[in-house]
Amino acid sequence: MDHDPDRADITASLAGDGEAFRRIVLRHQAAIARRMRRFGRDTAAVEELVQDVFVEAYFSLRGYSAKAPFEHWLNVIATRVGYGFLKRRQKQMRSTSHVTDLENYSASQTENPSEAAEALHHVLDRLSPRDRLAITLLHLENHTVAETAALTGWSKTMVKVQAFRARANLRKLLEKSS
């Protein structure tokens, strides 16, 4: 009954078959890229993040216990990689004082996809990494509190508290700009 292609490729990858891991990457990279788009601003950054997710997955492969589907396990790694990226990025932005006016960005003016993406990142960049992660997982990817807790390693109570704070901070941010 074991028709899970991931499981066979994981076993082969652990035995040193590089092509098996390539098949895993090819199977999951589109979904991971969709997820990482919410962390990285441009295509190059998204590609870099997707690559980091799979490299980390490769070196953690022995730790995959197959209790949960492989994509769930991969999503936990993706969340960790994305969160790490946000924290590093926030430090860089602090050191370069990357500040521009929010007034230039409003939802009504964003018919163009790249402008909309730019506007979205511009708003989210002003949140703390924790706030941004909570907003992203709960409201952009529509995960439940339990799923968000599993992805982040936070408790369910912590997710609820973080989501409440994040939403309040986002509201303040948007009120200030309007």
Binding site: A107, A117, L120, R171
Partner: protein, 84 residues
Amino acid sequence: MNEIEHIQKLDAAAGKVPPVDVSTRVLREIRVARSRITDAKPLWFAALVSGLAAAAVVLVAAQTFSGLQDPLGDLLTPVLTAFQ
């Protein structure tokens, strides 16, 4: 429109991510990382060997030092027993 609807609208307008293929880059990165680990192995081995060698030197020195004390102890023993 509340704050969540605002960002959801932006997110929807941002469209889909263009297709990516990082498979070749991932495999190359893995190869590089693995070779880095393999290259680092001799350094660990060298550190281990030099650590063991240093420990052996300390042991030999301690033994030698204690051996030097023995003749003195043996010389003094008859003198001390003669006085008793």
